[in-house]
């Protein structure tokens, strides 16, 4: 009961922190989608480019998140503002699942369908836009879903570089050995992750086509 009272008393702060969190995640996801999908398409079209692209994204993924924030700190323009820094780091994490799933989705299109499309005189761009991307769409969404859930969790670390978000409560709670504070950050973050997972998962099922 104490905890619920605590949440209600601090609802304004929690709400503000949630909005900050969503801003970090939303901006990072936007960047990751805008960069990741074209890279995934390139990786699918040109396998020799695909290997290095996915390799680099893989490396970014393996850097511990706290260390990645640290590495980016001295970078001139990025290090100037905490949210810039956090968004960049989060986007880097989100990139791999998006690139990989876009590429897998496109290369997974039944070769017969691609063959029929070419044979009927569709241009490569028409095949990409009207055949490959729609058929790869559920894969692509699965990548976005995994990336979004991951980013929501990792974004709590962004508080360590002063970018705000729900991590603020967690870090403060850790410092003050206060469980209620930790939960005030962790529960909304978990709820955001679950909601995102559910919404994107539902969309994903809607766009799955029997091939």
């Amino acid at each position: 009961m104490d905890f619920i009272h605590f949440m209600i008393r601090n609802r304004d702060q929690i709400f503000t922190a949630t909005l900050e969190h969503l801003w970090l995640v939303g901006a990072a996801m936007f960047l990751a989608v805008v960069i990741g999908i074209p890279l995934g398409i390139v990786a699918a079209r040109r396998p020799w480019l695909g290997k290095p692209i996915i390799g680099v994204a893989n490396v970014a993924e393996t850097i511990p998140s706290l260390a990645l924030f640290g590495f980016l700190l001295p970078v001139p323009w990025l290090g100037d503002r905490a949210d810039r820094l956090a968004i960049t780091a989060l986007a880097l994490y989100a990139l791999l699942p998006i690139i990989r799933n876009t590429a897998t989705g496109i290369t997974g299109v039944d070769p017969k369908i691609r063959d029929a499309a070419r044979g009927m005189g569709m241009t490569e761009n028409q095949i990409l836009i009207h055949v490959e991307l729609p058929l790869a769409f559920s894969y692509l969404l699965a990548g976005v879903r995994v990336a979004a859930v991951l980013t929501i969790a990792i974004a709590t670390i962004a508080a360590a570089v002063g970018a705000g978000g729900l991590g603020e409560f967690i870090f403060r709670g850790l410092a003050m050995v206060n469980d209620q504070l930790i939960l005030a950050g962790a529960i909304p973050a978990a709820a955001l992750a679950l909601a995102t997972d559910f919404i994107l998962g539902t969309l994903e099922k809607r766009y799955r086509f029997a091939q």
């Binding site: 063959d115 005189g121 569709m122 091939q211």
Partner: protein, 256 residues
């Protein structure tokens, strides 16, 4: 076109060879002329090069030697997209787009060619009727809601959509059960006599070749063994063709 002879072939293979990169020779100096309106069957066992020959026609493959001439021009001189829009293409299992309804699948090439919607819709209805599918029942279904035979009918309708003068068919009925296959073969033979397209039909099924071909080109290991009318093919003396026929007759004699 002043250098073209008056009886121009619709499709002509001039000393065509094809080999995959660093791979074996798949087609070996093929010479073949296909007249407008005829229905030529490429017959042979798996690996004889018949599908490769077909894919050279709509430039899904490019010859590594010689030239494939369509309407007086080498396929390499055609814009591949323009060339393919004028050539219907039907493959085994139809290769329909699973995210499109039957109507959109059939109307694909007219849509690519930017036909007005009215005309497109009328054409789709006409083609579904021609291929024996009730437009009211089937136009709005998705491929996964159709049987194999129905999908193949849609595949044929799609290939005919923009009324191309040439139709390429790569074992279109190969994946169907014998009964459905028989039905579709018979109906297709009717459609063919009505439409008078130039058809190149790939199959390994002798019965199908005899039923649908006005001529049969028998291929073996990338070489053209001979060109026959169905009647002539039944009496072919070339060893490989005769062996192929013997196997066919043996299957037939089991029934007697």
């Amino acid at each position: 076109m002043n250098d073209a002879p008056s009886t121009q072939s619709a499709i002509e293979f001039r000393d065509v060879s094809f080999r995959a990169i660093d791979g074996p020779v798949i087609l070996d100096h093929l010479e073949l002329a296909i007249s407008p309106g005829e229905s030529l069957v490429l017959l042979g066992r798996s690996g004889s090069g018949k599908t490769t020959a077909l894919r050279l026609i709509n430039r899904l493959l490019e010859p590594t030697g010689g030239a494939v001439i369509i309407a007086g021009r080498s396929t390499l001189d055609w814009d591949p997209v323009v060339l393919r829009r004028g050539i219907g293409y039907v493959i085994q299992d139809a290769g329909l787009f699973p995210h499109y309804t039957v109507e959109r699948n059939v109307g694909l090439v007219p849509w690519l060619e930017k036909w007005p919607e009215e005309r497109r819709r009328a054409r789709v209805t006409e083609l579904l009727q021609l291929t024996g599918l009730d437009p009211a029942r089937f136009a709005h279904r998705y491929p996964h809601e159709l049987s194999g035979g129905q999908r193949q009918r849609v595949g044929v309708a799609r290939a005919l959509a923009a009324d191309p003068p040439i139709l390429l068919m790569d074992e279109p009925f190969g994946a169907l059960d014998p009964l459905t296959r028989g039905e579709l073969q018979k109906e297709f033979a009717d459609v063919q006599t009505r439409l008078r397209k130039t058809i190149v039909f790939v199959t390994h099924d002798t019965r199908e070749a005899l039923l649908l071909g006005s001529r049969i080109a028998f291929l073996d290991a990338g070489r053209l063994v001979g060109i026959y009318t169905p009647e002539e093919f039944l009496h072919a003396t070339e060893p490989v063709a005769a062996a192929y026929l013997a196997a066919f007759r043996m299957g037939d004699s089991l029934l007697k």
